[in-house]
């Protein structure tokens, strides 16, 4: 009998500060498993964003830079250009990447910088108390849209994956979810592919992960998981929108 599931070595022993049922923990684990898979822990630099993902340095056993709000892609670009043999990834939420950091990620993608961006989209500002984010769905209530998001006043939820897939620079642009065990397995494969792209020097790779925020959605973890399938996936369809070369790393 052998252990078929254990804590990845790229993670520290520190328990997560995330709320019960938050998908951040699953995404953290998938990224750490990818680093273990390619055995690049000793030469990886993570770039954390502002938001619930800010404590990346506590949970990953790799070097981590804490970037100013929204600037993770710009910091990662600089890091990668100085440390060419290192693996550089950013881990950003939607309030960071899709709001204040839109310019940074679009230009990093357009330049095709050889970094990996993990974008956790839960459709709300989690850490600051549930304000409306650019990715909040129409009709969704938040503390700054108490009657639901209205497209005439607030615009439409922004689709970052579709936007970046339209550019020439990125080598991999994909959207995954982690609401079911099957989707977690697919997400693991795509996150591995994203790091594979960087290791092979193919350029910018971007993975959007649909995530829950049970606390700020005002739901149980189970109901929040169901909402991903019922409301988020129909608006944010899953799948790889752009891939320069098909790589099977499994």
């Amino acid at each position: 009998m052998k252990q078929v599931f254990k804590r990845p070595e790229s993670m520290t022993d520190k328990p997560f500060h995330f709320c019960p049922g938050c998908h951040h923990g699953i995404v953290h684990r998938l990224v750490a498993e990818a680093l273990d898979h390619f055995d690049v822990r000793e030469k990886t630099v993570g770039v954390a964003s502002v938001g619930c993902s800010v404590f990346l340095y506590d949970y990953f056993a790799v070097d981590v830079i804490e970037a100013p709000h929204g600037r993770a892609a710009a910091v990662a670009t600089g890091t990668k250009r100085v440390l060419k043999d290192h693996i550089v990834f950013t881990y950003q939420g939607d309030g960071d990447l899709a709001a204040i950091g839109t310019a940074e990620v679009i230009h990093a993608a357009n330049r095709g910088d050889n970094i990996t961006v993990i974008f956790v989209n839960n459709g709300i500002y989690g850490m600051t108390g549930g304000q409306m984010a650019p990715t909040t769905l129409l009709g969704q209530r938040s503390t700054t849209s108490p009657y639901g998001r209205d497209c005439n006043r607030d615009g439409y939820p922004i689709k970052m994956t579709e936007m970046l897939a339209a550019l020439e620079g990125p080598s991999l642009v994909s959207r995954v979810a982690v609401n079911t065990p099957g989707n977690v397995k697919k997400a693991r494969k795509v996150i591995r592919q994203a790091f594979q792209m960087q290791i092979e020097g193919k350029g910018f790779s971007f993975v959007e992960v649909l995530s829950t925020c049970p606390t700020n959605w005002g739901m149980t973890p189970q109901a929040a998981n169901d909402r991903i399938a019922e409301e988020m996936i129909p608006y944010f369809p899953l799948g790889t929108l752009k891939q320069k070369d098909v790589i099977d790393v499994l």
């Binding site: 252990q3 599931f5 995330f18 977690v184 049970p214």
Partner: protein, 67 residues
């Protein structure tokens, strides 16, 4: 014999693993851990098939599976 182990001090009682388990091995228990969370317990260890679905869904990496 496949088995699943829970690190109860990491568990926050979200019970995503309970929903994910096809064999109903896990259940939200009555006990409280040091952080004050009601944690999940293994109620039906013999039924475990070692599929890892519970561990895949655990946001706190509190589960370990042997097969």
């Amino acid at each position: 014999m496949p088995k699943v182990e829970i690190e109860i001090e990491r568990c926050k009682g979200c019970a995503l693993c309970v929903d994910a388990c096809p064999e109903h091995v896990l259940e939200l228990g009555k006990g409280i851990n040091l952080s004050g969370y009601q944690h999940v317990v293994v109620v039906n260890p013999d039924a475990c098939i070692g599929c890892c679905r519970c561990a895949e869904m655990c946001p706190d990496v509190a589960l370990a599976v042997w097969r």
